[in-house]
Symmetry: C2
Subunit: 609 residues, 2 copies
């Protein structure tokens, strides 16, 4: 007799609970067992079946039809959709022809013997079915319903499992220490994106840090040796698409390590924690210098899942008679470059091409010149009559353009032409995909390291002044060390970005560990007031080990893994793009009384935007 | 030949680093191996040895004395204390008589062959030695030095390991999902202890929540089934000893579970994650009702490591001729109670006794009457001449007081007498311990559940109005359900507190899962505006499963485990008791300019305190 007890197991997802099994668990092996399930009513069918759902799946419950079971039948038939019940019954094989191959539990059903109704549900604002389209606002307002969908359950559970594996790798495999750092901290000088938190000391504010950067370095000075934290970070950027005011980064710092060491660590981390069902990840990842990335892809975070690289055609035009091209390419930093969109001439409409040119003009202040290669191999282009046959040949040869392809070309400063073509490359990939062409394999995960970034960049609006490309703590490449004192704008940093499918999912660096160098960078190059970082400088002077680290954007990484279009889909309770919680209506007004202890008042008269 | 490579291993605490071994790792097994160590100079001895330290321990490095190694010798001898170096050399057995048994690496030393000096240290404000006493303020200001001590390294590492084991238990053993909930949330009505965070919407503020209570319940409504989070929580309590404005709780919530289920889960959690070196933990834990705890210990979080329970002597005095006693015990709720302090009469001085009486008067408004049992068995007490010989016998019998013992007695309302004697019980334990008596085993860990708390308490200052004893979401005991509508002050809640060695380290409850009951509690009993929690009420009405959970105070738990006197010793970067970060000087002033985008200004004229 198979009639096992319907008590919960001691471990696993049903331990310690009212149920004996989850709704996704029962198979034909269980036939004859007495089981207890708890779940939500997905739907009722013909007063014959109740389909019960929990996070793990669906089970069909058979409603008894005998007169002797009238009360039970009535209770089951009276259930509303999304009510919560406990059903005890016996697993039986579905009659022949009634099996459902598409349903993991489709071979069995549970013959109900008793029911407890925990809660009847009101009529809900939307159905809990993955294919039911809901507006983003409705999803956010009723987030607790939205999260019931199998897709959202999958996203949050995958995230939890990924983080658990990452922790195992860091703690158990490599001896890292999980250290929590404060989120009520001192304001960073010029930290315009930091939320402030008023304190009870008049005029004094805490600040919610954008990252634990200072703390992780101080932990290395403190001899913690290997630190990590799933760190909550804060950034007040107002309304930006797909940004959240609070987000999570996998924050890592190590002592006595070099750039190669951190990169190996992270490769191992991704490989170890990668979900089996997403296929294996190969290490080491491809590495590219910043210069190569800009040259070939026009961006510092190339999507390497497809080609369409930038091609520099400048040398063809060094001695051209086309005046505007020769002038463009012979200027310092000038170039003539192209990307070749395969089948672009065939697939893109006149309106698409107009849009491309418009984008170039509006966002980059650049003329874009199109060259369509017609089916017969002849060109259609404003350049056509200007080009000599040999120039044409060389262009087609260098770009490997075939009949039906489209060339996007631009002449001007590489500083502009590269980002323009880098941008249009991605735009064209999307356009082609919208026409049904597979440009990027949606199941592919291309990891890429970008290295050798410039350490400093000209300050926006003040180009004779330098600012840190990433942050002031990044160490120079050892071979560029001397340039720090002579031509700092040429110094490359020991910084590395991790890129996945064209998204930056992490960045880190080896840090400056000598107080004198850090002071020189702050004082002489960045012209910052070093007193604001005096505690860090003092720490570096107190026996700081060489150290470096990285921060990975967990929300972004998970969203790419699950193929979500927004990081909101991998966060349990995200804010709207305006930073609002649509469920609870945060942020909200606070009585003036309660602000008094913080010595602040609201400037109602200030009219801004 | 044992000369193994000095390259780092692929896993473990030295993987991917410049070192081959840690400074605490080498034993006589390693003799002959070429190794590389990285660490801090603990001290130099007679130009012969450098003692190198990292998080794992100390290793003695032998300075070569040959003329041919002059540069190496000079480099080593020039090191300042706390400088950071890498030393490569060969492990050798220490000469006979030079072994140090007290040092785990005391059988070996490393003969230096090369050195790289990463950083020389300035003279530090204090030495990195556990026995060097430092002021709390200095420790906080130079936290990165304070953390180098073996004690602080131990505390932070034990914390990290404890948390890792807890996660393994919750995720891997019981199928919990780690979900991050927002910390920028809506202000709780009357949430006077919540920090506010101004937003860019004029007059609107986020609030940093004191716990994820609403979110964890919403996650149950969302079908997450089993949630946990190491949750950062915030509480603005101004200056309170050993409280931190931000702290961490192990936050747990489960669906389809009862009180016994949550209690088993937590017992298993503690047992699973408990450090081996602290000895085994036995489960189930002792359970006591709130009523029993108050009756026997005078507090709702009894320290059960020692006896000295409260003894109710009321019945002896129901018919006494001592007027003030008879009147006290015959009033409703009146009683005469005692605790017996073993050897108290012998060990406590007159000044101690005066202090006890003073405390009773000042903090409890109560007369304390002392009864000293002298060596010859006779009493010394103001009561002595009032008591009949039979009363005296009965008192000595009931209290089991022996010669040399001290009885503390008080007559009055149990509401006052119990907390008074509960307080003095702990005070006397401390007093006895300060006299060298072991009252509580410092290595003992007594876990205790306290259950059956009252659901509501009379509001302070407004005793005819009820307020929640814990929070408004706690469900009544099923057997008290009817009382909710008739005598709510008598309802006991499905609340449970976890107590360790007399400290509350956690509390939780089974929640109300029916909207109608929750609404009744908010509207009719607590007289709160339910519109402020409308999203929660709506959620309960949308198919909420029965659920419950708990939150454990991680900082407090770890501090008791490691025997720290303050939770500051188990937090990497704590705030001072006034809420300041003494290292970075947070909170700090913020330029008025930067407050503009938040539409707030500082009320400099407000004088408070």
């Amino acid at each position: 007799r198979l009639d096992k007890s319907d008590t919960p197991p001691s471990t696993g997802p049903s331990s310690l609970s009212f149920r004996s099994h989850t709704c996704g668990e029962l198979r034909s092996d269980h036939v004859g067992e007495r089981v207890t399930l708890c779940g939500w009513v997905q739907y009722l069918r013909q007063d014959q079946f109740v389909i019960l759902r929990d996070f793990s799946g669906l089970t069909q419950v058979l409603i008894p039809q005998e007169d002797s079971a009238g009360d039970l039948k009535a209770a089951l038939c009276d259930l509303t959709v999304e009510s919560v019940v406990k059903v005890t019954g016996t697993v039986r094989r579905r009659p022949d022809g009634q099996q459902n191959k598409a349903m993991p539990t489709g071979e069995i059903e549970v013959q109900a013997e008793s029911i407890e109704v925990f809660n009847l549900s009101r009529k809900l604002p939307f159905e809990i079915k993955d294919f039911v389209k809901k507006s983003e606002a409705l999803r956010m307002q009723y987030r607790y319903l939205d999260l019931r969908s199998f897709q959202m359950q999958h996203n949050l559970r995958l995230r939890s499992q990924l983080v658990m594996k990452m922790r195992e790798y860091l703690c158990n495999v490599h001896g890292f220490v999980d250290v929590e750092t404060p989120t009520l901290f001192k304001r960073t000088p010029g930290g315009a994106k930091e939320f402030v938190v008023p304190s009870r000391d008049p005029g004094r504010f805490y600040s919610l840090p954008q990252s634990p950067q200072q703390f992780k370095q101080l932990l290395m000075v403190a001899g913690i040796d290997r630190y990590f934290q799933m760190a909550r970070c804060y950034r007040d950027e107002g309304s930006k698409p797909d940004r959240q005011p609070e987000f999570t980064q996998v924050d890592i710092e190590m002592s006595f390590v070099d750039q190669a060491g951190i990169m190996s660590l992270v490769e191992g981390l991704i490989q170890y924690s990668w979900p089996v069902e997403k296929g294996p990840i190969e290490v080491p990842f491809q590495t590219m210098t910043y210069e190569e990335a800009m040259r070939d892809y026009g961006v510092d975070k190339p999507d390497t899942r497809f080609n369409m690289k930038l091609i520099d055609l400048s040398e063809i035009f060094l001695s051209t008679e086309i005046q505007f091209l020769r002038s463009a390419v012979s200027q310092p930093g000038g170039s003539f470059q192209a990307i070749c969109v395969p089948d672009g001439a065939k697939l893109l409409a006149g309106k698409d091409l107009e849009n491309l040119k418009q984008t170039a003009k509006t966002h980059f202040g650049q003329e874009l010149t199109l060259v369509l290669v017609k089916a017969d191999g002849t060109l259609k282009s404003p350049l056509k009559k200007l080009l000599s046959p040999s120039d044409t040949d060389r262009i087609l040869q260098r770009t490997a353009a075939k009949p039906g392809d489209l060339l996007l070309t631009a002449a001007g400063s590489s500083q502009t032409v590269r980002p323009l073509l880098g941008h249009l490359r991605l735009h064209c990939a999307q356009l082609l995909e919208s026409r049904g062409i597979t440009v990027r394999d949606p199941a592919a995960f291309h990891f890429l390291w970008v290295v050798d970034f410039p350490l400093f960049l000209p300050k926006e609006g003040e180009p004779e002044q330098l600012e840190s490309a990433h942050h002031p703590f990044t160490a120079p490449l050892p071979e560029d060390m001397e340039l720090l004192y002579t031509e700092p704008q040429k110094v490359r940093g020991q910084h590395y970005d991790l890129v996945l499918n064209g998204c930056e999912i992490g960045g880190g660096s080896i840090r400056i560990h000598k107080a004198s160098i850090q002071q020189y960078v702050l004082n002489n190059i960045l012209k910052e007031d070093p007193s604001l970082l005096s505690h860090l400088l003092e720490a570096l002077d107190s026996g700081a080990p060489p150290h470096g680290g990285i921060a990975l954007g967990l929300d972004r990484l998970v969203s790419i893994m699950v193929g979500a279009s927004s990081i909101r889909d991998v966060i349990a309770f995200p804010k709207s793009f305006r930073g609002h919680d649509l469920m609870s209506c945060a942020p909200d007004f606070v009585p003036e009384e309660e602000l008094k202890s913080y010595h602040i008042s609201v400037n109602w008269l200030t009219k801004q935007k």
